[in-house]
């Protein structure tokens, strides 16, 4: 069973192969994403994050989710040498760069806890996979062509873990480089895809490594358990040394 809903301004698709899956399971997953959106949307003045930014609630009043995300955002800032920084140049606090990956992983954990083994959760192109597809084979994940979005340029085969892509072309200048705020407009990289132990890890490291420009793929190369595929403006891709382990059909 497969369903797509529009939440957080993007299509979220869940497919579960296990035959015992119910429509209620999908409703629970999508309700969870709705709740994440209600908590973290910076487009909604009523969200908890917006109210925290406006000083309407103190850290002591933060929900468990907001406290967790703030802690993860600070941890990610350290792990990425400041390339991911929840403090924006405008002085507001924006940890939302890690919220999507975190929420997808939590949704996948909800499915696993209910005993589902073969599924994927895809939110706006960042994906957690588990098990196999309808044909009993590893999930075939295409890497989108950043120059022509209806095409893919590569297929990776995954049975577990996460894959996430950052690019200049999706949200204008939404991703900026906190160490050099004007770097984004000169970024020679248009797309960086990272495969990691789970989608939260893949998402946060692709966000930060993308902000590093051409050096990003070398940052990924040094991360144990991660592989990456980086596409430059000139149409050339550079990939980490074990990336091809995922491209061969198993």
């Amino acid at each position: 069973m497969k369903q797509t809903r529009l939440i957080m301004g993007m299509p979220i698709t869940v497919q579960v192969i296990d035959p015992q899956v119910t429509v209620n399971m999908f409703d629970e997953i999508f309700s969870y994403f709705e709740r994440v959106d209600a908590t973290f949307s910076l487009y909604k003045s009523t969200s908890e994050l917006s109210r925290a930014n406006a000083g309407l609630i103190s850290p002591q009043q933060w929900s468990n989710d907001l406290s967790t995300v703030v802690q993860l955002a600070e941890d990610t800032k350290k792990a990425t040498c400041g390339y991911f920084d929840p403090r924006t140049p405008q002085g507001t606090y924006d940890p939302t760069g890690i919220v999507k990956g975190w929420a997808i992983l939590n949704a996948a954990i909800m499915l696993r806890e209910r005993g589902y083994k073969n599924f994927y959760v895809d939110a706006g192109g960042d994906i957690e996979v588990s098990g196999v597809n309808q044909s009993g084979e590893p999930w075939r994940v295409g890497i989108q062509n950043p120059f022509s979005r209806s095409e893919t340029v590569k297929t990776v085969h995954l049975t577990k873990g996460g894959i996430a892509t950052s690019g200049t072309y999706a949200r204008g200048n939404h991703i900026y480089d906190p160490l050099a705020p004007d770097l984004i407009s000169q970024n020679p990289v248009v797309s960086l895809t990272v495969i990691g132990p789970n989608v939260y890890e893949a998402d946060r490291f692709t966000t930060a490594a993308f902000a590093m420009g051409e050096a990003g793929i070398y940052f990924v190369e040094r991360l144990k358990g991660f592989e990456g595929y980086q596409i430059a403006r000139n149409g050339r891709a550079t990939f980490t040394s074990n990336f091809n382990a995922y491209t061969s059909q198993r």
Binding site: K2, R5, K78, I127, A215
Partner: protein, 142 residues
């Protein structure tokens, strides 16, 4: 000079990563160990089963960097998939700035493939134009 700076940055990045690497897993475990309690949805989810099955093409919506058009696939009365039909392409020649290959890692020219895939990983598509085109597609499915 730039290269030296890059090398120093990468070394610093590696050192910091080693220093702080263990913390990330501690934090992640904390997140995973704290199951997110499921509360009743604050928003009523869109009703399932209200659309007519089929595929519906949305309007060509103007994004500031070009046009966007989507197709909505309705199955069993619910939105099953969203395909991106049109998206602004970059001009490769005008954006050609750097053909220099980085020495340590392999590089290749990208090329569109015909392989059938289950899922596509790409940068998030959340533009207003995208939503407009999808809304138009869904309106036809009513």
């Amino acid at each position: 000079m730039k290269k030296i700076f890059l090398s120093i940055s990468l070394i610093a990045a590696s050192v910091l990563y080693v220093l702080f690497g263990s913390e990330r897993y501690a934090a992640l475990t904390a997140a995973s160990d704290t199951p997110t309690p499921l509360t009743p949805p604050e928003h009523t989810p869109p009703p399932v089963g209200t659309f007519k099955d089929g595929s519906y093409t949305g309007t060509l919506a103007d994004a500031y960097y070009g046009n966007i058009q989507v197709r909505a696939i309705i199955q069993n009365g619910a939105l099953n998939d969203v395909e991106l039909l049109d998206y602004p392409s970059h001009s490769r020649t005008s954006e050609y700035i750097n053909g220099r290959a980085l020495p340590e890692l392999t590089s290749e020219a990208i090329a569109a493939q015909n392989a059938k895939v289950d899922i596509v990983s790409g940068a998030t598509q959340t533009s207003k134009a995208f939503r407009e085109s999808l809304a138009a597609a869904l309106a036809q499915a009513k």
